[in-house]
Symmetry: D2
């Protein structure tokens, strides 16, 4: 398709981004072109917008940013099979090599040689997006574009939460950013006996309550170890999902977990973390899982099942919606801490 | 404790039972005596009452029958540690050897040398019951005696259902007797995307709906394979729980299951079952698990968590309540097919 | 590549096959052309050669048969990435759809819509073979072509055997055809405490002994249940691999397995099988897994590791080697029962 | 039994121990008395002998030390069932509560309220030892007392090693103390493709080679990350068993492990450990398991199977044998670093 479109572009090194007119991308034979219906802002987009150290090292402007999307296929490359114009889709943002050990053994989310849409090549905050057909996911027509665009980050939460045995178990979610909030809802939907949601931000804890938390704890005011140990009859929780990226939070969590319990880490820690491995991990017989990405496509099937069945209602996590022209307001909301997910419409 | 009590006694070979006065049992040093608050009738009790072939081969009258119970400890044997008069308890009805390979590796429910309360020695349909302390389970005081007495059969359903991966999966429960009905509720509580409940009895299907079935199917009127395959987009269900004891039902279920799916059998089949193993099991890559009993005590913890949290509400399955004097009406209800669980009070 | 080659062709409906000159296949852009170094005869090839009911229903002559192969790439299609002329390869014989639920969740061996090389399209008993690049497996140069050609059937045995917990466990392999013999060796390499090999054919049991069987049992002469129960102190085996396709063999195996044990079925049964599910599966708490194909590519990595490390030595299973011109002798050996694997060289 | 016996006694706070005559212990009704045939010195005994901080805080002299033992029952308490005079036994040294969540769910090795033989009450470095019957393990008569006494520490290695998927996998064992050496042998017996053994002590690496290591690496001379990455084609190992208790060793190991790999920690670290969790655990998708003790009795069954079958030959790890009178030489050997296990005979 020829013509112009608007896009949010990181046009130069440094903070900020601009909305500008660019060419509609020309697809290759293995690609499709998607007409964007809704997108959402990821923490990664915020890093790029704010131009932190990670972004400065990784990003090569100019770049159309964004990777969380729902839309309709408007053009199909010549070698693409199984997809048609009009199909309603979202996308997995990791483009994998397909040939390494991990890719060939069902662990493509751990591919050694992957690139990311909106990070390593042009993304989706635009009227149209060019996407490799291998990365497409078919949406049910009953799923709204806003929610459909969230499946990528919900998938992180699904992989983290459902890598644990949840039904009849007590679960603590540490850190109620968007992925933590999704995890609260997923753990509740998967039959956790109790979900404890912990954060330092009452706004987010309020959303956690709506997502199904049995108890919300503001760890700024409260001794979270005391509260959880008392409420679990001094046993501790079965499952501890660490999503705060905060060293103290992690260390505290290892004090309120049950002997033999399970810990999942879906966090980026700004520095090294100092742990009392002997007492907190070895003698407690813990299992700790580092989690990243989404299983292709097992995690997507689970995510879609949770959303299509209505078991997981993420409407409370969508706190802001803007047309793309007002994207600056979206990034302000993201930076404020008083937000969940921010939707941008083309 | 000395004195007399009333008890439901299988007093001779043949159908029926009698309510009569017997001695309160004298406890041994490893036993406790429980004052019974509520009991429920198991299918096993019905076999004994009706005096079928199994009962005629196994039961040696006179015998106080019954094994599903909630009550309070009123006397504690001299060697018992950790239990006191006044403790509110239920019991695991399998008395295990404690020394075989299975008992020593966390599989005591598969003990080679076990005996059953109310089958191999006197049971609980009485004012008082003598029970080995090793078989005690402590109830939360907030749990009603009626529901607490059901934890043994609910445990069968918990072991069967939660031996499968349930969250985000489609589940078919074949056979809506009490354990099937519990399984419907457990699968729903554990986050199944959809639970299909199948039976030939509309009364039971009505209860299944209340327990959280997404769809109920009367297989007498309806082609269950067609219905489920259509509703699952021709994929079939992820999990098939066979609880009917009916050969045709099992064979049909193997036709509406997903390639790579999981089957659990918690059924007694009156005869051998003829299966097309090549096409239905090998080429479909199925896993079939035979399930019996309850894990001691993992299953009990899970059962209690489901009940104490309110995630599993079994009130719809309790269809009849009688004082022990009217036990005959209870057995009539059990034989009618138009019943769930029947509670008897001393 | 243009020119002529010799190939073993099923040229018409009915028993037998012919060696004839045919065109070297023209590759498509997603294919490679392999110069064949060694092939081996599968049971499937024997069905086609003998023209049994299955073959008559499935095969559409003329067809180049065969699918077990090792060779070198001599031509690479225009769209193929990651493969070069000279690469030493074997192939997965299942061509999968890549789009169904199973393909997208790491279960491509259970694809709903697959076709098989040498069954549904031309195979490898020829000088050259055209193969989709998606089906290629890279061999270590130190692996002989004969052994490399066996990785497909060894993979069946690897998937079956290593789907069980083997280390420190007792394992019974029922049926010592080639795949049973591989399984004996794999179970021994994976640290089984004891491997019992059972067959009615002393020739094959002799090979089983060389593959590492702790005990070989000819079930024609011996009460296999008695022997195994006595040798396992009346516990039974932990793992029972049913590879005979014989109903009585399966039924017997369910009598010498440990309560809570694991059964794997990699067999085609000519008829329905009648089982005492209540006593043999439910009350014994067994898990039964139907196994088919090879996981792509997890099973191939495991197979290669076993062969490359020398842990699995399959030389005893290779009983016959012929040039392709003498293929008739190969099929005679396969039909005789006095054979393991038969290698054919172009 | 009345009379006197010799025993190694920690008679006062401070380094050292004495061999002295004490009363033969009087058993309680739930105990047995064992005539000791062989014992071995554990690292825990060395801590007590050397009187480090841990010992000073935990031990209350006078105390008969030691807990690794093989011997014959010579007296049986009045309430003990299933054990007889003459039975040849070893013991699990953890005396558990039997009533906590962990004890009741197959995780008794993680009991909250346990005590240890030879640490919290009198142990086994003596002519006779009093032991609770619940802690007995029956030995095959074909197992030598020396090896039978080692089952407790071998059990630690079995639990650590076999908690991982080992067959066809590459395994690195970091730290070749006795438990590391056992782990090398267990990984080899369980079918690891390659076992890398790493230490700073060539004497121990020499033993590791005899235990089945594919490669031994002295990390004092060699860049262990380079060596392992090169030998694994830059993939890293599947399994990393950290048994050194050294922070640098652990951190290095996280650099030579495969994405998606498994780490087990059976170590006591003298201080907190600083980890780059984001890069080394989260983004690599690792699973880390803290391991302590032995599963009762699953680990014992596996340990016995490895020893009784001859798959695990620990004779190379037994480097010293002394009569109890020369126990001082045993502790000198243990402190020297130039030793494996030291046997003491009464």
């Amino acid at each position: 398709m020829n013509g112009k479109m608007k896009a949010i572009v990181k046009d130069k090194c440094g903070a900020g981004a601009v909305l500008k007119e660019v060419n509609i991308p020309q697809i290759n034979p293995d690609d499709v072109l998607i007409e964007v219906q809704a997108t959402s802002i990821c923490g990664t987009d915020l890093h790029i917008y704010n131009w932190d150290n990670w972004a400065a090292n990784r990003i090569d402007p100019p770049l159309v940013i964004g990777h969380e999307i729902a839309g309709k296929i408007v053009e199909v490359g010549g070698r693409v099979e199984g997809w048609d114009v009009g199909d309603y889709v979202s996308i997995e943002c990791h483009k994998i090599c397909g040939r390494c050990y991990q890719c060939r053994t069902g662990q493509a989310h751990l591919c050694h040689d992957y690139s990311i849409l909106g990070v390593d090549f042009d993304g989706v905050f635009a009227d149209y997006a060019r996407v490799p057909a291998t990365n497409l996911w078919r949406n049910k027509v009953t799923l709204s574009p806003e929610v459909a665009s969230l499946q990528d980050p919900i998938g992180n939460a699904v992989l983290t939460t459902l890598s644990q045995d949840i039904s009849t178990k007590t679960v603590a979610v540490m850190g109620c950013g968007s992925i933590g909030l999704f995890s609260v809802g997923i753990a509740a939907a998967a039959g956790a006996e109790k979900v404890y949601a912990i954060d330092v931000n009452d706004y987010r804890l309020g959303i956690a309550k709506k997502m199904g938390a049995y108890m919300t704890i503001n760890s700024r005011d409260t001794d979270v170890i005391d509260v959880i140990m008392e409420d679990t009859y001094n046993e501790g929780v079965d499952v501890f999902l660490e999503m705060s990226g905060n060293e103290t939070a992690l260390v505290n969590g290892l004090k309120f977990i049950k002997y033999g319990g399970n810990v999942a880490l879906l966090s980026v820690y700004p520095n090294k973390v100092s742990l009392d491995l002997s007492n907190d991990v070895v003698f407690q017989g813990l299992t700790i899982r580092g989690i990243t990405g989404r299983r292709m496509w097992d995690t997507w099937y689970k995510t879609a099942a949770l959303l299509n069945s209505g078991q997981l209602d993420v409407s409370h996590v969508i706190t802001h919606k803007f047309p793309m022209e007002r994207f600056e307001e979206g990034f302000v909301a993201m930076n404020s801490g008083e937000s969940g997910k921010v939707i941008l419409y083309p």
